[in-house]
């Protein structure tokens, strides 16, 4: 099979694709039996009874005017105001769903008429997004080369911060590693310590590489 994936990380489209598999409640306008999609069964669909389907099914049905999408409990003006409040007051990220940016965007695009006060929702979501991005920026400014755990960060934000964070963090970690060895060899004299450093496991591979590269300059390599 041909290699389809060319990027080494998730793209924005990949994240949107994954977000489309989140379940959402709909109120169908049609009658149908249970049907199976990707090995999971959905339905049965009986008009007044609400049921859960993936977002891509819901949006397809919506485009054919076959259902009404019930907005998720977090996508309301009240809840977003609370989230925005906690986002402003606390330094931590507030608890939003993992795919909140993608889901809210898809719903506001294709099912605007099923949401209450979409204009206000858009405004709140934009404010929430900007507050969270600002927190990411502060996080980057205070980045330390230690293991990090970030709670409640969403897929979209991971996607946005990935290139800079990964590359800066990798450099910081490698620079930090060079100083950490000091504690192990502090009592030794300087010359000995350098020798210890060179022979330590972290460096030996690199030096072996270098040695391999210039092994052809054989004459002086035997001098020892």
């Amino acid at each position: 099979m041909d290699k389809i994936i060319t990027s080494d990380t998730f793209t924005a489209e990949d994240i949107k694709f994954l977000a489309e598999y989140e379940l959402i409640t709909i109120e169908p306008f049609f009658r149908a039996d249970t049907f199976s999609l990707s090995g999971i069964e959905y339905g049965p669909f009986t008009p007044p009874i609400k049921t859960n389907v993936p977002i891509w099914v819901a949006l397809t049905l919506k485009s054919q005017k076959l259902c009404k999408i019930i907005s998720p409990s977090w996508l309301t003006v009240e809840n977003l105001t609370i989230l925005l409040d906690s986002e402003t007051k606390e330094t931590r990220f507030s608890a939003v769903p993992f795919y909140y940016a993608e889901i809210s965007r898809m719903l506001l695009q294709s099912a605007e008429d099923d949401l209450k006060s979409p204009g206000e929702l858009r405004m709140l979501l934009q404010q929430l997004k900007e507050k969270r991005e600002n927190k990411i920026r502060i996080g980057l400014a205070n980045l330390e080369p230690i293991p990090h755990k970030i709670n409640n960060i969403s897929a979209r934000e991971i996607h946005i911060m990935r290139p800079t964070f990964v590359m800066v963090f990798d450099s910081l970690r490698r620079i930090q590693e060079t100083t950490l060895k000091k504690s192990s060899g502090q009592n030794l004299s300087e010359t000995t310590r350098r020798t210890v450093d060179i022979m330590s496991s972290q460096n030996i591979d690199d030096l072996m590489d270098i040695e391999g590269e210039i092994a052809d300059y054989g004459e002086f390599m035997t001098y020892d």
């Binding site: 924005a12 946005i160 450099s171 000091k182 450093d197 030096l207």
Partner: protein
């Protein structure tokens, strides 16, 4: 070959000044010496880092800092990291500095490098978001790794800006 591997490979290229602790016979022709085939004690030569590192490991030489890691540069990097043109100094500045620090441990230099890297990274993160601004002057000052970082960050920001415009045009 990935970008990282190429970066690692090129970072071994810059020349560093070394001073020999011993007489070495038969090395002269490899380091470009015209006078004799032997290298004398206390002779100073400039060698590519990948050779110097091996000689240093065998304690044949003492290594000095290359010109682009001198105090003048380090001080500038400490005072105003954004104004230092790393591209002119060495296109693989940070990768080389890490390799150098692995041989010659120097906590003060490491601290300055960490601080400057963070400030430069933050500036890249900020500037990538500003779509309609001219960043050419800034990009010229970045080393290879940082330019790659800027490109990747920029691509993501452009994508999300296109999405934003599309949403906006649909609504109005």
């Amino acid at each position: 070959m990935s970008d990282q591997q190429i970066e690692e490979f090129l970072a071994k290229e810059p020349k560093v000044p070394v001073k020999f602790n011993h007489d070495v016979q038969g090395l002269g022709k490899y380091i470009g010496s015209t006078k004799s085939n032997n290298v004398a004690t206390n002779q100073c030569v400039e060698l590519p880092f990948y050779i110097a590192a091996v000689l240093f490991k065998r304690r044949l030489v003492t290594m000095d800092r290359p010109a682009f890691l001198e105090n003048k540069v380090i001080n500038a990097l400490q005072v105003n990291p954004l104004n230092v043109n790393l591209r002119i100094l060495c296109p693989q500045f940070y990768t080389f500095a890490i390799k150098y620090l692995e041989l010659y441990e120097d906590p003060d230099l490491a601290e300055i490098l960490i601080k400057s890297k963070k400030i430069r990274g933050l500036e890249i993160f900020d500037r990538a978001k500003r779509i309609y601004e001219d960043h050419n002057e800034f990009i010229e000052k970045l080393d290879d790794g940082e330019q790659l970082m800027f490109e990747k960050q920029r691509a993501i920001c452009e994508d999300s800006y296109v999405d934003y415009l599309r949403d906006f045009s649909k609504r109005s």
